[in-house]
């Protein structure tokens, strides 16, 4: 990885999924502070809609560039040629209807989107849950509340996608054991 990175060339677009309004606001701010372009939606199905994936069959998808008018606005002053391309998906685990894990599975089953890195967030430190997500393709698992230091871990996954070099795959287990309070 030791590439000299010009910030302007690496404007990544992150799709954030969380049913909590507060957490959506937080993750959006964290991501924008880190110079990511952000689209925030409140459910897994809205996320799939935004990607242009039919909710029911991720295998047999209909792909069309579609901007879902229900999603919160993407900051449009960044003049990048990304279209609606999403470079990373960060999703809450516990959501009504489709969980973050369900969303992860659907993305990984999709031929068009399976290579998009997916990061899962959860307020609950459950090792079996964390392991299952990582084993089934999540790049990282963040414990909530998510911090700037967590968001800083995203860039390598995005650079990996962008770079033509294929490094040997390197999964990090970012489990932070919560000690209560502090």
């Amino acid at each position: 990885m030791g590439m000299a990175i010009d910030r302007d060339d690496t404007q990544f677009h992150v799709l954030a999924v969380d049913d909590s309004l507060i957490d959506r606001k937080l993750i959006e701010r964290l991501l924008k502070t880190s110079s990511f372009q952000v689209t925030a939606v409140d459910s897994g199905s809205k996320a799939l809609e935004f990607l242009g994936l039919n909710n029911n069959d991720a295998d047999d998808e209909e792909e069309y560039e579609q901007r879902d008018s229900n999603t919160e606005s993407v900051s449009s002053d960044e003049d990048q040629d990304l279209g609606l391309g999403v470079n990373l998906i960060i999703t809450d685990y516990c959501m009504p209807g489709m969980t973050g894990y369900d969303l992860l599975k659907k993305i990984k089953k999709s031929s068009s989107f399976k290579d998009i890195p997916v990061v899962i967030m959860s307020s609950e430190n459950i090792p079996s849950r964390i392991n299952r997500c990582l084993e089934d393709g999540a790049e990282e698992f963040f414990l909530k509340p998510v911090q700037l230091s967590d968001v800083n871990k995203l860039r390598p996954h995005l650079m990996k996608g962008r770079s033509k070099d294929i490094d040997s795959s390197h999964k990090t287990t970012s489990t932070r054991l919560i000690t209560s309070g502090n």
Binding site: L21, I22, D23, K25, S123, K144, P145, Q147, G181, N182
Partner: protein, 144 residues
């Protein structure tokens, strides 16, 4: 003179909120995310928290008043409450939510009701303190 006094007041209130355990490091995260491009970020998040909490408190009241009590639903509401209080760094409120969920898991209605009183109390105290604190912060920033 006024400005110094206000700034000292802000500093002392802030210190006290942390020392007495009302807020934890997560609140500092919020403050750090505030800047010239988002000058009201902390207040905006806190306001969302008040709105969210009011809704959840009402839902929990209703759930506790129904018969039979749906502990799953209760736990779900409290999970949300705990999540948002944790996201703003409301330490005492978060701890009370944790205690509540234990009673909930044990399906202990009495315990839930008592525990919920604690949650509401801590929430009310925090809300009052935060409102005063943030108002003082505003005043201090407006004073030339």
């Amino acid at each position: 003179m006024d400005r110094n006094r206000l700034h000292n007041q802000v500093a002392s209130m802030r210190r006290s909120l942390f020392d007495q355990g009302y807020l934890d490091d997560q609140f500092i995260q919020l403050e750090e995310l505030q800047d010239d491009t988002n000058p009201n970020f902390v207040q905006e998040v806190v306001t969302l928290f008040y709105n969210d909490s009011a809704r959840l408190i009402q839902n929990i009241e209703q759930a506790l008043n129904s018969s039979p009590i749906d502990f799953c639903k209760l736990d779900d509401y409290m999970h949300q409450f705990k999540g948002s209080s944790s996201s703003i760094g409301a330490k005492k409120v978060t701890n009370e939510c944790t205690a509540f969920r234990e009673y909930c898991n044990a399906e202990n209605a009495e315990g839930c009701i008592r525990s919920f009183q604690q949650v509401k109390q801590e929430y009310a105290i925090l809300k009052r303190k935060l409102e005063v604190y943030l108002q003082t912060v505003r005043q201090a920033s407006q004073t030339a």
